[in-house]
């Protein structure tokens, strides 16, 4: 399944349009729905780019967990609209334009997409593809790299999720009996 340039192009254009829509929409519910759709399209694009594992995860997490969490938060905070100022804010715009310019400068001489001679395809990745299956006995190379070659990263990833769980139980666990003090150390 080689990457289809037309589908790729269409999906990218859609993604850009959706990102702008999320920027402009001030109704929070609509924004959340578009956000879920954005993630789903992103997952589709990953699929087109031969990354089924990432697509799977993005679909489950981006358009699943994140969107549902956003909906729950909207209902808990009773937020329907953001107070939207239509004015362009110049300072954030300047920061964004500078960062974007730096990135455009940086990707100017990045290797062509799909190039088999690109440095990214050569050095480390080459061994994973050529001997990953013999060395780990697992045909899904993503699983092989994830769980064995870079198993320590994945241990870190599990700990990240665990940390989030601990943090959320600290924040939203049974309500504090003590009650918060209004002010005693502010200047």
């Amino acid at each position: 399944m080689a990457i289809d340039p037309v589908i790729n192009f269409m999906l990218l254009v859609f993604l850009v349009v959706m990102a702008f829509t999320i920027l402009r929409l001030s109704g929070m519910l609509a924004m959340t729905i578009i956000f879920g759709l954005y993630s789903l399209l992103m997952a589709g694009l990953f699929m087109v780019m031969d990354a089924p594992d990432v697509a799977f995860t993005e679909a489950a997490v981006g358009s699943g967990v994140s969107t549902v969490l956003m909906l729950v938060t909207l209902s808990l905070t009773k937020t329907r609209h953001e107070r939207h100022t239509r004015k362009i804010q110049w300072r954030p715009l300047l920061v964004v334009l500078l960062t974007g310019a730096a990135l455009i400068y940086g990707i100017h001489d990045i290797a062509n997409m799909g190039d088999t001679d690109a440095p990214a395809q050569q050095h480390v990745a080459d061994r994973y593809i050529s001997s990953g299956q013999q060395e780990t006995g697992v045909p899904n190379l993503v699983t092989a790299v994830l769980a064995s070659y870079r198993g320590f990263d994945t241990l870190g990833e599990v700990v990240v999720i665990f940390t989030a769980g601990i943090g959320i139980m600290l924040l939203l666990g049974r309500p504090c009996k003590k009650g918060r003090v209004e002010d005693d150390q502010t200047p």
Partner: protein, 494 residues
């Protein structure tokens, strides 16, 4: 058998302890386990430092895969020193938290609180030990996420907004770091730091590599709260629980600065930094940060924000030290990492004692408290003198090396900035000392409302660090020695 695994055990022991701690019943038990783990980590990191001080390197291949295919731990004197800082501060803060946490955190959350504390601790250690640049990102996020939770546990509601602001800026920083790593990977095809260094020398300095350095640098600058990306720091340090402020002030920014030094000196080359004018930027922003932080510190009317802004001023010195791109400059930065961790942690812990005693940290409400709490006051004076850089204290040693580095390059205006920064430090330290000791105690009588009895668990860690301020100011073998070996192992000659 154990010796060869020490470098990984340093991270895995707290990693195994954190989920166990989360399951323990609330009360003393989670604290006890945390303390045991911290002591074990302190012992491991000290023995690692002893091993690498002779100049040898410790190399550990995780999963048995040789780098660059697998992740490797590479320990030299630079990261061993950082690991010692983190585990030493962690040990003392845990001892302090025996009395501090019951005063700040509701009982039903203490087990999870200690688990989050251990996670933050192991994240920082993981960042400092690893030789793989993507692994840095993973452990950076472990420490960041737990820090957001820890900061939000502060007793004022402002702790929540402070944690949220930190979360936004911290995540932007981490994502910038990730973009930089991606660009570096696109240019070289590797993620191992040593391998990256080799391949970056081969490849001509392309746009991609320069941008990679820029994004990694900005990402870490956000984490290190470098001026002008410092907005999160004063609020986070002010509103976090006392032991969290003390721990973060001693460790979190230090590790970010270590990563910055590591990327500038041993992944990318100092020449690349020169050609992109990164060094000029570091020095100028560092100098502005030193003065701006100090002036803001003077304007504060409460102890914790004053200390937080003073941290910001000190971060400027690290930036100048790295920006000079010389062996002496890097040595000054490393010595100052250790010294400032000692100083700031002892000051925050001492401020905690004032808070528990008086119930407030408004400076004008603390008048005369120094005479009621002579031990705390004496420790504040010692640490304050170190902060200023009085000879005989640790602060003097690091400023001395920084001045030497500036003089080496004939950069006289930097010497001026360092002296001016010290003068401003005198002003804000004096502001605390004067109120605490020389102003008459308020008629209301603060002792009547004291909340927590002074206990050895609070005052002993403060005094251990105060003694360290003097000891390492007189005997510089360990800190300067380790810094020298580290600088040599990076290929610079002092």
């Amino acid at each position: 058998m154990v010796e060869q695994h020490l470098s990984i055990l340093l991270v895995v022991i707290p990693l195994l302890a954190a989920p166990v701690t989360a399951l323990l019943p609330n009360g003393r038990l989670p604290w006890a386990l945390t303390q045991v783990v911290m002591l074990a980590c302190l012992w491991i990191s000290l023995s690692l430092l002893a091993d690498v001080s002779s100049g040898q390197l410790i190399h550990y291949e995780l999963g048995g895969w040789a780098p660059p295919w697998g992740i490797a731990y590479e320990v030299d004197a630079l990261n061993a020193l950082v690991a010692v800082i983190v585990s030493m501060i962690g040990t003392l803060v845990t001892a302090y938290s025996l009395r501090s946490v019951p005063a700040d955190i509701p009982l039903d959350k203490q087990a999870h609180f200690y688990a989050a504390f251990l996670l933050c601790f192991l994240g920082l250690l993981g960042m400092s030990m690893t030789g793989d640049i993507f692994n840095v990102f993973v452990f950076l996020e472990i420490s960041s996420l737990s820090t957001y939770a820890l900061v939000s546990m502060g007793r004022n509601r402002q702790a929540l907004t402070a944690a949220f602001q930190y979360l936004i800026l911290g995540t932007i920083g981490a994502t910038f770091f990730l973009i930089g790593v991606g660009l570096a990977y696109a240019a070289t095809g590797t993620l191992n730091m040593a391998d990256l260094a080799v391949r970056l020398v081969d490849s001509p300095h392309s746009n991609t590599v320069k941008t990679a350095l820029g994004f990694i640098f900005v990402g870490m600058a956000l984490k290190a709260a470098m001026f002008p990306l410092h907005q999160w720091l004063p609020r986070a340090y002010t509103y976090a629980p006392v032991m969290v402020s003390a721990f973060l002030a001693g460790t979190a920014t230090k590790v970010a600065i270590y990563i910055m030094a590591r990327t500038v000196f041993s992944v990318f080359s100092p020449e690349l930094a020169l050609s992109t004018l990164l060094n000029e930027l570091l020095i100028v922003l560092g100098a502005i940060g030193v003065l701006y932080g100090a002036i803001q510190a003077i304007r504060q009317t409460s102890v914790k924000p004053l200390l937080a802004w003073s941290s910001l001023s000190q971060i400027g010195y690290f930036m100048i030290g790295i920006g000079l791109l010389s062996a002496t400059g890097l040595m000054a930065t490393m010595v100052h990492l250790f010294n400032h961790a000692i100083i700031k942690t002892s000051l925050f812990m001492a401020a905690g004692i004032l808070l528990y005693h008086a119930g407030t940290l408004h400076i004008h409400k603390l008048a005369g408290l120094g005479r009621q709490l002579p031990w705390t006051f004496a420790a504040i004076v010692i640490a304050g003198l170190s902060l200023i850089g009085v000879p005989g204290t640790v602060g003097f040693i690091s400023k001395w090396y920084l001045v030497l580095a500036a003089v080496e390059q004939q950069a006289w205006w930097i010497v001026g900035v360092i002296l001016l920064g010290s003068l401003l430090a005198i002003v804000y330290v004096w502001k605390i000392v004067e109120t605490l000791y020389f102003q008459p105690a308020q008629a209301a009588g603060i002792s009547a409302q004291s909340r927590v009895e002074l206990s050895p668990a609070l005052i002993v860690p403060v005094w251990l660090l105060a003694i360290a301020c003097i000891y390492f100011g007189l005997d510089t073998d360990m800190t300067v020695g380790a810094a020298q070996v580290a600088v040599q192992s990076l290929g610079l000659t002092p």
